[in-house]
């Protein structure tokens, strides 16, 4: 008797999960959601579609045109004329250095806030919270003046340092939240064995914190890769420009080559989309944590 009672609900649940009858309501729901998904993605599908058309085809009044033949030359022109390759390299360099620097500084800060005992801890935490609330745009003019003074304009530092600064607060909070869940007993044992604080950090804390580091790194990657207004303000020399510039430049120089303009936009968008598809969960988690705190 007892067994039957226990088993029964399991059976119904597993039946429910396995055999969801394809009712009319469910079909309508799926069709509706497919339509919503298509609507949401449509601007991007249009972008990729038109990036394969030649510029003359832009002026038809069809919503969607099958590119025949696909104009892959658009992507070739984007690469050869839009300075995409050097800008791509700059984007990669600036992004990777900023992401690494943010990860290291955030872990150190998080460790200081979760484990170390110091009087000014609360004060410093509040200053970092304050930094999180300040809009990027309010720092553009003063930072432009400062960078101009110290000769930072047109250098990688003019991007790496502010990118790092604006990514530190949220990253630090994510790592802090993670570190609070690590039991102290491991560190106690290490201290008894005579390990120094740095030894504890490098051989115990870093390896355990890896999931949090992965989360902040992919989120910061997207932030830095997509960043536009600081790069646009602090960089005027081709040598240091990052990828989002190429579209501005391309529209200016090749204003009638629509197909190639669309190809440039697609080239900027694709790395972010790929990153998101690979790291969907990390990015969602990181962005959510960021919006709850920020």
């Amino acid at each position: 008797m007892e067994n039957q009672v226990k088993i029964d609900p399991n059976i119904t649940i597993s039946q429910n999960k396995k055999k969801k009858p394809l009712s009319v309501g469910r079909v309508v729901l799926y069709i509706f959601m497919a339509f919503v998904g298509l609507l949401q993605l449509f601007p991007l599908l249009w972008l990729f579609d038109y990036s394969l058309l030649n510029s003359g085809q832009f002026f038809g009044d069809k919503i969607f045109q099958v590119p025949s033949p696909p104009q892959w030359e658009n992507y070739v022109s984007a690469f050869t004329q839009g300075n995409v390759l050097p800008y791509f390299f700059n984007s990669v360099l600036v992004t990777f250095v900023s992401v690494a620097l943010t990860a290291i500084t955030s872990i150190l800060l998080a460790y200081a806030f979760t484990r170390m005992k110091w009087k000014l801890s609360a004060l410093f935490m509040n200053i970092i919270l304050l930094g999180m609330m300040i809009p990027i745009h309010a720092t553009l003019l003063p930072n432009f003046i400062i960078f101009n003074e110290v000769g930072f304009l047109n250098s990688y530092w003019a991007l790496i340092l502010p990118y790092t600064a604006f990514n530190i607060p949220v990253s630090m909070f994510i790592v802090t939240g993670f570190m609070q869940t690590i039991p102290r007993s491991i560190e106690e044992a290490a201290v008894i064995d005579g390990a120094s604080i740095w030894r504890i950090l490098f051989s115990i804390i870093f390896p355990i914190t890896k999931p949090a580091i992965a989360t902040i790194s992919v989120v910061n990657f997207i932030n830095c890769w997509n960043e536009f207004i600081m790069a646009y303000t602090f960089i005027t020399m081709d040598k240091f420009k990052t990828l989002p510039f190429s579209i501005i430049q391309f529209v200016g120089q090749y204003s009638s080559n629509y197909g190639a303009q669309f190809a440039v936009m697609a080239l900027i968008a694709i790395p972010s989309i790929i990153m998101y598809l690979i790291f969907t969960d990390e990015i969602n988690k990181g962005l959510m944590a960021g919006s709850v705190k920020g």
Binding site: F59, L109, W118, T233, T280
Partner: protein, 297 residues
């Protein structure tokens, strides 16, 4: 024997842990704002001498600057549109998606994709969509028989702000959606079952039981919407640069124009300072009125 507490209050170690990140943050964010405050009290034009003029800039901005006022009103409009258009759609779709079984994950991913694309691409793409010659929007209207509505969307001072709002709603949709979706996932299964046993239909289940439980998440989403809308700038800068007239002007963009196009450094810095003050006040007020302790998720 060395104790953990002793190691953990090592002053030198604390210094080296805190200094790198803190110095970058101070020098790139806090110090520049301090400098803005200083220059906000001057009439500096970018080069040469400048004079201290007291609160002149601030008085001018608050009492006489029409564009500053338009920027604030536009931010308010953007916020209201986000909360009353984007959020209800986000809640509705989040509810539907929880019923989509194995398609749940892919639908979630699709809805979020626009949010991770560079703002430059988003802005330029939508400028093309609104383009009167080859734009998608006019073509769609022609196709569905509403050809009489076609026009230069960004060139019309009455419509341009709505064109901008549509872009920000599209781009930020993923955030609102994910927040409400996470909120829904936090509702315990037992509640659904209890409501069903009590004979509630879907409409009663959601309107009486589930949606009220989303309140804490709605607070987070609303705070996020207000702050994001206040800070919005790039979309406007790249699509309309505040125009036509100043109909789509936003604080960030107005500040940028004053500083970099007209080289009014004193006045521009004063706008920067007021911008920070507005954001801080709004954040503090919202946090006070809408307690956003939703715990971890």
């Amino acid at each position: 024997m060395i104790e953990l507490n002793q190691v953990m209050s090592d002053k030198k170690a604390i210094f080296f842990l805190v200094a790198p990140g803190f110095l970058i943050l101070i020098s790139m964010i806090i110090f520049p704002i301090g400098m803005s405050i200083y220059y906000g009290f001057t009439d500096w034009g970018g080069i040469g001498e400048y004079n201290f003029i007291g609160f002149e800039n601030f008085k001018e901005i608050i009492f006489n600057d029409k564009i500053f006022r338009i920027s604030l009103i536009n931010a308010l409009l953007l916020t209201l549109a986000t909360i009353f258009i984007q959020h209800p759609i986000a809640i509705f779709l989040a509810i539907l998606i929880t019923h989509c079984g194995r398609f749940e994950k892919i639908l979630r991913t699709i809805l979020f994709i626009p949010a991770i694309i560079s703002i430059v691409v988003t802005a330029k793409l939508w400028a093309s969509i609104y383009n009167p010659q080859y734009g998608l929007l006019n073509n769609v209207l022609e196709t569905i028989g509403l050809g009489s509505l076609t026009q230069d969307w960004l060139g019309n001072p009455d419509l341009a702000i709505w064109a901008v709002i549509l872009v920000t709603i599209w781009q930020g949709f993923g955030y609102a959606f994910l927040l409400y979706y996470a909120g829904l996932k936090g509702v315990p299964d037992e509640l659904y079952e209890a409501a069903k046993i009590d004979g509630a239909n879907y409409f009663q289940l959601y309107s009486k039981v589930v949606i009220p439980l989303l309140a804490p998440m709605a607070r987070v989403a609303i705070i996020l919407a207000v702050i994001t809308c206040l800070k919005q700038m790039e979309v406007v800068y790249l699509m309309t640069n505040g125009g036509p007239g100043d109909s789509t002007q936003l604080l960030g963009n107005y500040l940028y124009q004053t500083a970099f196009s007209s080289a009014q450094y004193g006045y521009g810095n004063a706008i920067s300072v007021l911008f920070v003050i507005v954001v801080l006040i709004v954040t503090v007020i919202l946090n006070k009125f809408l307690d956003r302790d939703v715990g971890e998720f």
